[in-house]
């Protein structure tokens, strides 16, 4: 399985091509032969990549790896495939009601800017009031249901649109 790593805002795909006789990694489609020269303690490491020797220092801080190489520091992030799956739904534009019920309040109007997670409307169903959050950052394109309206399960109460660049 390919590993997704982020470095300076860019995502790189890293995959093991072979382990023997020497480790070969594919990084963004290009293959590199790699040999580990070993750790020197205190996070000091060295690798041989395609015959060139490379010395660096690395440290784990929280969930990210910090790497110091040739006088510069880099932060290497790992993209959790489960997180990608879980966030897959976060791009859609519709603010949907998860329950059949009634709209008790609409807190935004068309044209408002919203951040992901901010409440757009509140519905009530089965004695429970639920805030309907914006699924992503954006602008309210349209409010589709008004206070007091009945809504079906999975019906959209509002629709978002992307912020135009520069706004």
């Amino acid at each position: 399985m390919a590993l997704k790593l982020t470095l300076a805002g860019r995502t790189h795909l890293v995959e093991i091509v072979r382990r023997r006789p020497r480790l070969v990694l594919s990084i963004d489609g290009r293959e590199h032969e790699i040999a580990a020269a070993g750790e020197g303690g205190d996070g000091r490491n060295s690798l041989e990549i395609g015959g060139d020797s490379l010395h660096f220092v690395r440290a784990q801080v929280g969930d990210s790896q910090l790497v110091h190489l040739k006088g510069r520091g880099y932060e290497v992030g790992w993209v959790d495939p489960q997180a990608e799956i879980a966030d897959a739904g976060a791009d859609h534009d519709e603010v949907k009601s998860p329950m059949p019920g009634r709209v008790v309040s609409v807190s935004r109007i068309a044209g408002d800017r919203v951040l992901r997670g901010e409440t757009v409307a509140t519905i009530e169903s089965m004695k429970l009031q639920m805030s309907l959050p914006a699924p992503r950052d954006g602008r309210i394109a349209a409010i589709l249901r008004a206070e007091g309206d009945a809504v079906e399960k999975d019906e959209a109460v509002a629709r978002l649109e992307a912020l135009s660049p520069g706004s």
Partner: protein
Amino acid sequence: MRKIQSTINASSAEFRRNFAHNKRLAAEFRERQEAARHSRPARDLARIAKQGKMRPRERIEKLIDPGTPFLELSSLAANMAYGGEAPSASCIAGIGIVAGKETMIRADDCTVKGGAWYPLTVKKIVRALDIALENRLPVIHLCDSAGGFLPLQAELFPDRQMAGRIFRNQSLLSKLGVQQLALVFGHCTAGGAYIPALSDYSVIVRGTGAVFLGGPPLVRAATGEEVSVEELGGAEMHTSVSGVCDYPAATEEEAISIGRDIVRLWREPNKIAGRREPAEAPAYDPEELYGILPDDIKRQFEMREIIARIVDGSRFHEYQPNYGATLVCGFANIWGFKVGILANNGVLFNDSSLKGAHFIELCNQNETPLLFLQNITGYMVGREYERRGITKDGAKMIMAQSCSRVPKFTVMCNGSFGAGNYGMCGRAYDGRLLFAWPNHQIGVMGGKQAANTLADVKLNQMKRGGEAVDRALVERVREETLAAYQEQLSAYYSTSELWDDGIIDPVDTRNALGVAISASLNAPLGEPGYGVFRF
């Protein structure tokens, strides 16, 4: 397992409003608990001091290993009963560590009416012994009770779950090989006399400890015999003549010290083996729970935010993250112990019920204890859902949950209304322990719904009878019902009646569950298998 990404905004007006509200509820709970534990008439405290006795909580402090936690259960039992005259139902129960072993400690409270047993005292003792049975926890009884509270004997003596159950449970514990020790500090009168008699070991304090079926006044009335307490059932007589007790002790401290020696002799517990990983504090501050819980029982909140503040490292492996979204299911660790969590994120639909039932089966297959985090207004109603068989899907969840062989724990995080309470392991489903937060409300339906329903019934009665509609009367029905419901819906009423094992401050949930899960591993898993699932 990956870390839950919290999306709360701790500086929002809503968070701060919730925080203030729930912090106040927690403070009010602590105040009530403090009063139940320590506030007693000076007269009673003076009498105890004069007798050279310790207060029951001092005894427990000296009994448990120094620096270890004591998980007190039902500290506010009976807080709304008997005009408040039986704080904590005049007895103490909890799980504590003695000589390195997890034990159920149960103490009579001689600072309340001489330690007399009220009906709810009996209920609390029976519950403590049920917990001991289910978890195979050795029991230490700290005896000091005048006996049953006679004016209410009909409510504490005759029925199946009443006083007789205490001695039945003691016998069954012994049959299972679970040890019991009785430390007799004061009187064990009438039925209470069986507590040391049915314990495997007993210690009795000279001068103050006494065990007899009938005290001197009863003996005088029955046979005319004049006899002193000491002669009738004192330490000397029982440890040298009758053999009812084993060891005499000169002081209460000595009795506790002998008791600790005895527990040290007991075999090491045979806990079920399971992989325990290193514990890790949650990545998010549990104090934030106050700001996440709403200040209105009707407001929904994100249960993953709650989970993130209870489990190790806030790490959670969510099962079926995109299916049956109103029931969050997944695996996490608490104190390094693996648990399967089911948490309500809305009303239970067909898909969420099926997901819940399937997840419960997975936990049973995997021998993973179950944790239910309740905030439930019920299963979805309406024509479409009935046609889809919401009832049979709810039934599957109840079947899987009832027949589970793994330990189950429940935390009432907010509302618990209607049949959702059943599927989510409410009190009737024999969870090992069930805790409630101070904001918790429980009932077959909400107060407003009940009041409106009954007011409508009244209105229709009047219309049918051809009477003039008396609006004032209908309003009175509505208001009276609402008032009665509000009182009975509250967490304080629930805990007063022992519908739970105690209210806890939300920030203590992780530790309470840690103690509970650890204790539960003393008992073997139940029998595997389920009944017929309706498909």
